[in-house]
Amino acid sequence: MKTHFGQSPKCVSAEANAGAAGVKRSGRSQAVQWIYPGDWLIVLAGLALVAGLFLRAPAVADRVTIRQSGQPFLEAGLRIDRLIAVPGPLGTTQVEIHGGRVRIKADPSPRQLCVKQGWLQAGEAAVCLPNRVSVELGRAAYDSLNY
């Protein structure tokens, strides 16, 4: 039977090829011989990349929930930079989304606690109690629009 791959003018096996270049590969199991020295670099670099991504991954917070008097006011992603004005009993609270982060930029409350909190970490919430506004940075649940 004639195979397509048999039509090759030269039939250089991986082992013969490596042997010609002076790379010793004998005495090991076959599967290991099929991976060339440079391939190991790629295999390990890929593994390091994956491992690094897994280690860096935990900060999966991509969803901001803003509440007004306990009622959901707005749910937003972090991808689009914008300024959100949330009305409350004392005035307007400004929530800023910028560069994948979120903070309360301005608030009419006297002690400015939520503004001083700065940019939120994953899972954190900033609460401006006097103006009854809260901002929560968390993970999105699957919904039919996004998934």
Partner: protein, 180 residues
């Protein structure tokens, strides 16, 4: 006067590319039948054919086989011109470009396993880029990135080992030479 007939002559190379593309299409259809738990992750068995063609017949033939397989496979699966097809095409093109560069690396040091891994990583990176920029610009894929790359690492390694194994099988011509 009878209308002149247009005759298309298929050269030996045309037939070879068609047959190899058919092998790729077969693998594409076969793996579409495998139920996989996560959408977007599949073994990419057809890339075995692409890599083997790259080693035996060069990059041009590999590009033909790969692109024919992507278009025909999409026609068979009913995904032609859908986002799935665009993802498949952009991933395939990116892989081919990387393979064109990678095949020039010293062959004693970089074999099918390395090339397969490179192609797999570029494939998924390109697809994620397209999803991120075009299909779902408002959804962050960061959380999924490690999982997709893990899948690319595993499938790239497995496919590369399969290619290496197939390249090390005794060739009919080699056997004849030994016998003569």
């Amino acid at each position: 006067m009878t209308a002149s007939t247009i005759e298309l002559r298929a050269s030996l190379e045309d037939r070879r590319i068609a047959a190899l593309a058919a092998a790729g299409i077969g693998l594409t259809l076969a793996e579409a039948a495998i139920p996989l738990p996560i959408p977007g992750i599949k073994p990419g068995l057809a890339n075995i054919v692409t890599l083997l063609v790259l080693y035996r017949f060069g990059w041009r033939a590999a590009a033909w086989v790969s692109l024919l397989r992507i278009v025909a496979g999409a026609l068979f699966l009913g995904t032609f011109l859908t986002p799935t097809f665009v993802l498949s095409l952009t991933g395939g093109l990116a892989s081919l470009l990387v393979l064109a560069a990678a095949i020039r690396l010293p062959q004693a040091w970089f074999g099918p396993v390395g090339l397969s891994l490179l192609a797999a990583f570029v494939h998924i990176a390109m697809q994620l880029a397209v999803v991120d920029l075009w299909l779902m610009p408002h959804v962050s894929l960061q959380g999924l990135l490690p999982w997709f790359l893990t899948a690319a690492w595993l499938t790239g390694l497995a496919n590369g080992l399969i290619v290496a194994r197939m390249m090390n099988l005794p060739q009919p011509e080699c056997r004849r030479e030994v016998a003569a």
